[in-house]
Symmetry: C2
DNA sequence: CGGAAGCGTAACCTACAAGTTACGCTTTCG
DNA sequence: CGAAAGCGTAACTTGTAGGTTACGCTTCCG
């Protein structure tokens, strides 16, 4: 829990997580999107890995990073009691949005399409 | 947003927030519950204040701290897209729990009771 | 087989977060 | 009015997070 909160506290790591929301990415491609050096990004990736927020998949000489959604829920559940009752509406809206997004993506790219992406 | 995430990353500050969930507290009483020195706690309180997660209310020579729920929602909304679809159930459960908790508290202590507490 | 591609790690530097002690400003009250 | 209560702030110390460069290990491919 402490690790998760700490991991999310850094803006670079939050940006990485946002990138991975769209698709899995190899370490090099992630590093290219930042101004900081590749080793610096590599360590951010390690922090994310150790916090359990991402997994890595080795493919040849590349290492792909993938979101590991499980741990996110912890933090959300910790935060829930603090959200003001009037904020519940917004949260339900967000939930709804998310449900639609998930459905749309499942239509767009089925499980089969997943094997095709990121093979450049 | 960065401030909020950073504020929550610290275990002491999370503990303070949890305390304030039950009732508002004066700075001294908060400090007493930790092993670290009072000035240290005082700075944690400042961080929380500047991040907008808490407000302070001056009463005589005491300074009470109160939760300011608004900012919490930001973080929750940022996290929402990452929570796995199967996690939605858990989140809805948490929501339900929270709703009941809120209702129970509103029954137990009405708005009138609020003026009575923490007047020791 | 040898060089390049792709990453991680080690060693080092620097800035900052978080702790401590000392101090000063209001407010309360005998 | 003066002392104590209640907090915040300043100044200082120290561990660690995050950046850089240098290096080494696999994997791919001409």
């Amino acid at each position: 829990m402490d690790e998760v909160a700490g991991a999310i506290a850094d803006p670079v790591r939050r940006a990485i997580l946002t990138m991975l929301r769209d698709s899995r990415l190899p370490a090099g491609e992630i590093a290219d999107r930042f101004q900081i050096s590749r080793p610096a990004v590599s360590r951010h990736l390690r922090v994310l890995r150790e916090s359990g927020l991402v997994r890595d998949e080795l493919v040849g000489r590349r290492r792909f990073y993938v979101l590991a959604p499980e741990r996110f829920a912890e933090l959300v559940e910790w935060l829930t009691p603090f959200v003001q009752p009037s904020g519940l509406e917004h949260r339900l809206d967000a939930l709804e949005t998310e449900v639609y997004r998930t459905r749309r993506e499942r239509r767009t790219r089925g499980p089969a399409a997943r094997a095709q992406e990121n093979t450049a």
